[in-house]
């Protein structure tokens, strides 16, 4: 589809929000009482932030919830019945005001969930998702989208991409059919583009992901991994805040005869992730797990899923309790 460019006034955004929320759920970032930026379903428009650099958790929860039932069952020793989840009940959701890094992550998640056979839980949610992105007019030292082939104004993954103008109004790029249907629905709110300048932040390049990927091919045994992961304490924070980390666990829970099988986020940083029941652990120490994390995103995924497992949002680094800074490490890796 050809991209249409429009202008939407600051005051019209609220009207658009109200209009959309009449028929759909909206997932948007708000600033919580403790100053953390978190995504919420159907927040009041006045609570939505347009000025955040990054939310604490990514928006992946909207297509890959932290907990998701796979089916429910009733069970006795000899009789079991499985009750499917009705995926048609998944509502249409609008992701509102997510930054280009978060939005680019959906394609990457798709490359994991839908290669080979399709994971309907994920793909149905993605199908029902409309993304109204917001390009970044601010950034900080943790941002490195430009090093992984993206930019503060990348339109990848967005159906409509808003960009703040100097006067507070927004330019809107209508990028897809889904975006177009919103334009058609609320046409009167969109005006012809103005000559006003778009406010786009500058994110400095830190490394070349192509070179990193190339370097990693021979870096498996490098002492780099041990040296640079000593301070990693082995929590799952980096994986859980990451917009593209998709590893999960499957568990059962029952109450009496009724139970459910669900999946929940998991992390390759945990020692238990690969532990065999026999006690053998293929990745016994933290440096191996840290290596797996980097390798998976920058070497295995490009080769296997034809996608880079990183969008440069910097959450893993800003959320890390011990400052395992991924951009710094990749920069260093490029030079080994």
């Amino acid at each position: 589809m050809e991209t249409t460019r429009k202008l939407i006034r600051k005051q019209s955004l609220e009207k658009l929000y109200k209009l959309l929320s009449e028929t759909r759920k909206i997932y948007a970032p708000v600033i919580a009482a403790d100053k953390q930026v978190e995504y919420k379903y159907n927040p009041a428009f006045s609570d939505i932030t347009f000025d955040h650099i990054r939310s604490t958790l990514s928006a992946k929860n909207v297509v890959f919830p932290k907990v998701e039932n796979l089916f429910t069952f009733t069970n006795s020793k000899t009789e079991s019945t499985i009750n499917d989840i009705d995926l048609n009940k998944i509502p249409e959701v609008i992701l509102w005001g997510a930054h280009p890094c978060d939005n680019a992550a959906f394609d990457i998640l798709r490359s994991i969930f839908c290669w080979d056979i399709t994971d309907e839980f994920f793909s149905k949610r993605l199908e029902k998702l409309v993304v109204i992105g917001l390009s970044c007019h601010q950034s900080d030292d943790y941002c490195f989208c430009t090093s992984v082939g993206l930019a503060p104004e990348s339109s990848k993954g967005s159906d409509i991409l808003l960009s703040r103008l100097q006067n507070g109004d927004y330019h809107a790029q209508i990028l897809t059919e889904k975006g177009n249907s919103i334009l058609n629905m609320a046409g009167e709110l969109f005006e012809p583009v103005s000559a006003e300048k778009e406010l786009i932040t500058e994110v400095k390049g830190k490394f070349s992901h192509e070179q990193v990927t190339e370097k990693l091919k021979t870096a498996f045994e490098n002492p780099f991994w041990v040296e640079n992961s000593l301070r990693c304490i082995g929590c799952g924070a980096c994986a859980y805040v990451c917009p593209t980390c998709a590893c999960f666990d499957i568990q059962d829970e029952t109450k009496g005869k009724n139970g459910k099988r669900y999946r929940s986020w998991d992390s390759c940083g945990f020692g238990l992730f690969t532990l065999h029941t026999s006690g053998h652990n293929p990745r016994e120490v933290q440096s191996q797990r840290w290596r797996q994390r980097i390798m998976h995103k920058f070497s295995y995924m490009p080769e296997r899923n034809e996608s880079l497992g990183c969008v440069g949002c910097g959450r893993c680094s800003s959320g890390c309790p011990v400052d395992m800074n991924i951009a710094e490490q990749l920069e260093a890796l490029q030079k080994i």
Binding site: Q36, E38, K66, L230, I233, C235, S264
Partner: protein, 267 residues
């Protein structure tokens, strides 16, 4: 901290230790743990008010131990953690050089455990002032308000276990939360499962928590989970008149008892 750097170089050059565990500045300007194995790199060491992580957590980590004998930059909470780890027989005090840091930020001369014990005993061991206000505010709430507060906070938990991993006292290689026969704590990060997890964590740290606040600081979603253990630290002192991490010979409050322990609720 020129004398810290000098001391680190001296220790490494004389091969008295193979690694100095301290702090350095990361690329975004935050201070972070650093492992200096070579005196040429010792200039990276810093100490200032940004240096907050409890470094004692690394003393039980496999790959750090493998580096050899360690010297560790230790503020009061780190010293107390070291005491706890020695008393719980996780580390051997003689194998460790403690580069103590006074509350004013000066390098202390700590020749052995006794000196360290003396320093700890002279310090204020109650919960640090910055946490007291919130603790008091929570204590003033009605039970309903408290329950609502914790439900709201704990609903955010994503079970990344940063609180556990950052805690020097959570050194178990297999945590109770991972016990699955039966599944003791739900794996999923729902409010109920999260609450059970945080209660379990707090209870296992009762009488062992040294009030460093690292668990709360580590939480990526900002749950003040340190208040749970700190509250118990207050209570342990009220009931049993002890603070954790004051002696290398102390048994933990919860694994000992006095026949005349006072309570008012058992009928």
């Amino acid at each position: 901290m020129n004398n810290l750097v000098a001391r680190a170089k001296e220790l490494l050059n004389s091969n008295s230790v193979q690694v100095v565990i301290g702090y350095e500045t990361g690329p975004t300007g935050v201070a972070r743990p650093a492992f200096i194995t070579n005196s040429e790199k010792a200039d990276r060491l810093i100490y200032d008010e940004r240096c907050v992580q409890n470094l004692a957590v690394y003393l039980t980590k496999h790959e750090v131990r493998k580096l050899g004998k360690a010297a560790i930059v230790a503020t009061l909470p780190v010293m107390r953690s070291i005491m706890m780890l020695i008393s719980e027989q996780q580390i051997i005090g003689e194998n460790l050089v403690v580069l103590g840091i006074s509350s004013e930020g000066n390098l202390l001369d700590i020749a052995d455990i006794r000196v360290m014990q003396g320093i700890i005993e002279k310090s204020d061991l109650s919960n640090p002032p910055e946490y007291r206000e919130l603790l008091a505010a929570l204590n003033k709430m009605s039970p309903e308000e408290k329950f609502a507060y914790w439900q709201k906070e704990l609903s955010k938990c994503i079970k990344c276990y940063a609180c556990r991993q950052a805690c020097p006292m959570c050194y178990c290689t297999r945590c109770t939360v991972e016990v699955n026969q039966p599944q003791w704590i739900p794996v999923q990060a729902n409010t109920h499962g999260n609450m059970e997890w945080h209660i379990l964590r707090a209870m296992h740290l009762a009488g062992r928590c040294i009030s460093c606040g690292e668990c709360g600081r580590s939480c990526p979603v900002g749950i003040p989970c340190h208040l749970l253990t700190m509250h118990l630290t207050d209570k342990v002192f009220n009931y049993f008149k002890v603070y954790a991490g004051t002696s290398d010979k102390m048994s933990s409050v919860m694994s000992t008892y006095e026949p005349n322990d006072k309570e008012s609720f058992i009928i």
